[in-house]
Amino acid sequence: MADEVVKLVKKVDGITREATQEMIDEALVAYPEKGRKKRAPHLAPNDPSACSTCVKSNRKTVPGVMSARGCAYAGAKGVVWGPIRDMAHISHGPVGCGWYSWGTRRNLMSGKNGVTQFAMQMTSDFQEKDIVYGGDKKLATLLTETRELFPLAKGISVLSECPVGLIGDDINSVARKMSAELDLPVVPCSCEGFRGVSQSLGHHISNDTIRDYVIGTREFTEPAGPHDVALIGDYNIGGDVWAAKALLAEIGLNVKATWTGDGELDRIAATHQVKLNLIHCYRSMNYMCRVMEEKYGIPWLEFNFFGPTKIRESLRAIAARFDDQIKENVERVIARRDLEMQKVVDEYRPRLEGKRVMLYVGGLRPRHTVGAYEDLGMVVIGAGYEFAHADDYDRTMPELPDATVIYDDASEHELEHFVQKLKPDLIGSGIKEKYLFQKMGLPFRQMHSWDYSGPYHAYQGFPVFARDVDLAVNSPTWKLVKSPF
């Protein structure tokens, strides 16, 4: 069984702890002393046995270094609340935050836009007078208007931007009053961007508001079944939820709710009735898994649906929580799908064997995608997170080869230096990094948004992932970069 596999320490030719540390030291030279002191603990050669003690994480971003991080609002709007499709999400404050996060995460939604799903930019568009006199009154009016214009919205989230918290507005009492008046859940979420050190606190604050305002407020009308589960921490980037849900259904599980990709508020609210929570992105939603475990006794299980090896391990771990029927289903599905996946590997692996990858992403991807690259014969030689905590690094270090460079909240200066030194064959990071590295002639994939592709999850996703990695690495366009004159 998967959990009995003894983890082997992976090695990469030419990468030693000494060489990696030297590379890190070189990157740090450019910093003023204070900056260097602050950044040094966030960079280290991997020690698969030492886990999170290698690097410091979840600390304030050092000013002026060009961090890729977002803010608490980004974590609330972009990650946790925004993907719930049947709620109106109000970006409460000035116009910008909601505008920048409008349709830019690729959390796809079913339903009809403006009718049953609300992938839109709804904002109170604060003006100077709202800063001076406060925005509570405007908020109350706006909530009424939202109810009237979008009658099928199952609820409204109020996502505070920086000024709201600074001017002392009381969105909680407005939400309480209006919720009663409109007979609709109105969830106040104080996720001002200045709170915390990254988007991570936005996830936590949003989880807390789900705990306080949502969970336990609905009940499924159909009787509970032994195979009821919820899919947690999947945001349906490029259709991931649909791929994952189909696989869970294929093995006989009944996915009652998805959190929060293509999510429905009522189903999320009734998740306290499921038998098991299956969590993909631990970072953004472990909080609610713990709440549901403590309050309702629902166990939770982390899994990984990237690449056939990890999918296989995960399916067996999931089956172990259920009856023989599910176990049988899982083996049958694995047997059948392994053949299909082998064809994918046979097609792409010869072109990708031995290629080196560097990752700098968020959430779960710097660790969860490692296996998928390995399925294609590739090796990850550097990884880091924008907003991880120690428990993320605990889960990451063992997945990565020994002595590879680990970077937490990397600055652009550091990333550029590491890439110059290591010359990877592929970089997986975000939009802000993409064109920098492509200008160097290096293949790149956006690994937050799947670079406008996807899904990458589950058996539906792996062939797409493999194709995308191949097209990035082996595009003939890279050969044109060097001019003959």
Binding site: R69, A269, I431, V481, S483
Partner: protein, 489 residues
């Protein structure tokens, strides 16, 4: 069982397909339009973003300049992502990552540490500092903070550090562009005015324009005239840099020396009168030489006006090559006018571009039926009205000021048009109305190379009409009955 807040527990409900269909039909009605237009507080799908985005775009237009956001780090990430998505280019900028304690102590410590790190790591020739919400709300005194940084030698003595207050709760991205441009020019020209000196150059101000092709075409026109020009905030190389295997942090931008010397220019011309109102007002007081503000040269008449102004300012005839180009553009328009004549358009965008779209459409005999600006002045409204009034094709057209794209959706569903001109954000309403969207504005997230195709000048007119007419012809080919599907169009 009750929730922790004592909220009542209800059954899970599902919206039935019938209910969805009923509301889907309802939001297309006149009744809904009236409700929608009665909105007082809620803004849905606005066209405008906030000031600092424009400030960052402007900063990228200067040589060796690192945009520096005084405020939360998330703000900087949002602006950078937006610019990178639009241009498919890097948009390097830093923030000083203010957090909660900034609310208590102010942002000076962050600003100072940020300046020191940014200078050490990214060795800018200029730091262009602008603000997001937090320091604006708590009332940070940038003037004092930067003076203090200088007295502590945190930045090199000769490093210019222009700064602009760009509160997100006032104006739009266009206002932020203006504020940053004014601040940069004020800083760079300080003490540079020399009595009697004339650079002999044109200072050219494009305004908030995220089309690098436009910049290249402006420069081509100046070259054709033989007019030496300094483009103030030239983003064309920054956001359209070659891929030759080397990443350059600062691949282009207006030379700082030239920008400083612009105060001694022979003439200063802005084609973003709305986007650079503040900057231009200051220039009129401070700059030597002649000053002119013209509408963005879109379509024939406005390009004519532009060329005549250049001719007048520099006492040079309009070069033959541009006369021929005019002829070609007019030829293209007369050849293609039948595909646009009488077609109704909904147009929205930033003020200067909006005036350009309307002017161009009227020249083609097309009808700018709904003209919408999500933040615009009375002055803009008057100018738009005057344009419409001056043309037979403007009859009955309506101007919608301070309305958003959810309003525009109601408009195109109840009072239909044949196409929309705007930016990527209009794609939802265009799809609902089953009409094409022409992405001439900013941002474009979902098509490639739109920012490389100029929409100004005679060539821009050809580009726009080619895209529009061919799309209409495509539509006919794609949707007509088999018996009407024919070789020629």
């Amino acid at each position: 069982m009750a929730n922790s807040l004592g909220l009542k527990v209800l059954p899970v409900t599902t919206t039935s397909p019938e209910e969805e269909a009923r509301v889907a039909a309802w939001i297309d009605t006149q009744e809904y339009r009236e409700k929608n237009f009665a909105r007082q507080a809620l803004v849905v799908n606005p066209v405008h973003a906030c000031q600092p985005l424009g400030a960052e775009l402007c900063a990228h237009g200067f040589e060796g300049t690192l945009p520096f956001v005084h405020g939360s780090q998330g703000c900087a990430s949002y602006y950078r992502s937006t610019l990178s998505r639009h241009f498919r280019e890097p948009a390097p900028a830093v923030s000083d990552a203010m957090t909660e304690d900034g609310a208590v102590f102010g942002g000076q410590a962050n600003l100072h540490e940020g300046l020191e790190n940014a200078v050490a790591l990214y060795k800018p020739k200029m730091l262009a500092i602008f603000t997001s919400c937090m320091p604006e709300v708590i009332g940070d005194d940038l003037t004092a903070f930067i003076r203090n940084a200088r007295s502590k030698n945190l930045v090199p003595r000769d490093l210019p550090t222009p700064y602009a207050n760009t509160p997100s709760f006032k104006g739009t991205h266009v206002t932020g562009y203006d504020n940053m441009l004014a601040a940069i020019l004020q800083t760079l020209t300080e003490g540079k005015k020399v009595e009697g000196r004339c650079t002999g150059k044109l200072n050219f101000i494009p305004g908030f324009d995220a089309n690098t092709g436009n910049y290249r075409d402006y420069k081509r026109i100046f070259e054709a005239f033989g007019i030496p020009a300094t483009v103030l905030a030239d983003i064309s190389e920054t956001f359209d840099s070659p891929n030759d295997g080397t990443y350059r942090l600062y691949p282009g931008g207006t030379s700082l020396v030239e920008a400083g010397d612009s105060v001694n220019g022979k003439a200063t011309l802005t084609v973003g009168p709305h986007a650079t109102a503040k900057t231009f007002a200051w220039i009129k007081e401070q700059y030597a030489g002649k000053h002119a503000a013209l509408p963005m040269p879109m379509g024939i008449a406005r390009t004519d006006e532009f060329l005549l102004k250049l001719s007048e300012l520099f006492d040079r005839p309009v070069p033959d090559v541009l006369k021929a180009e005019r002829g070609r553009a007019v030829d293209a328009m007369t050849d293609a006018q039948q595909y646009m004549h009488g077609k109704k358009f909904a147009v929205y965008g930033d003020p200067d571009q909006l005036l350009g779209y309307v002017s161009f459409l009227l020249e083609m005999g097309a009808v700018p039926w709904h003209v919408l600006c999500s933040r615009g002045s009375k002055k803009l409204e008057k100018e738009l009205q005057a344009l419409l009034d001056a043309s037979a094709y403007g009859k009955g057209c309506q101007i919608w000021m301070n309305r958003d794209l959810w309003h525009l959706r109601s408009l195109v569903m109840t009072d239909p048009v044949d196409a929309v001109i705007g930016d990527t954000h209009g794609k939802f309403l265009a799809r609902d109305a089953r009409i094409p969207l022409f992405r001439f504005g900013f941002p474009v997230f979902d098509r490639v190379n739109k920012h490389r195709s100029p929409i100004i000048g005679y060539q821009g007119a050809i580009n726009m009409l080619t895209e529009i007419c061919n799309k209409f012809i495509d539509l006919k080919d794609d949707t007509c009955e088999e018996r009407f599907f024919e070789m020629m169009r």
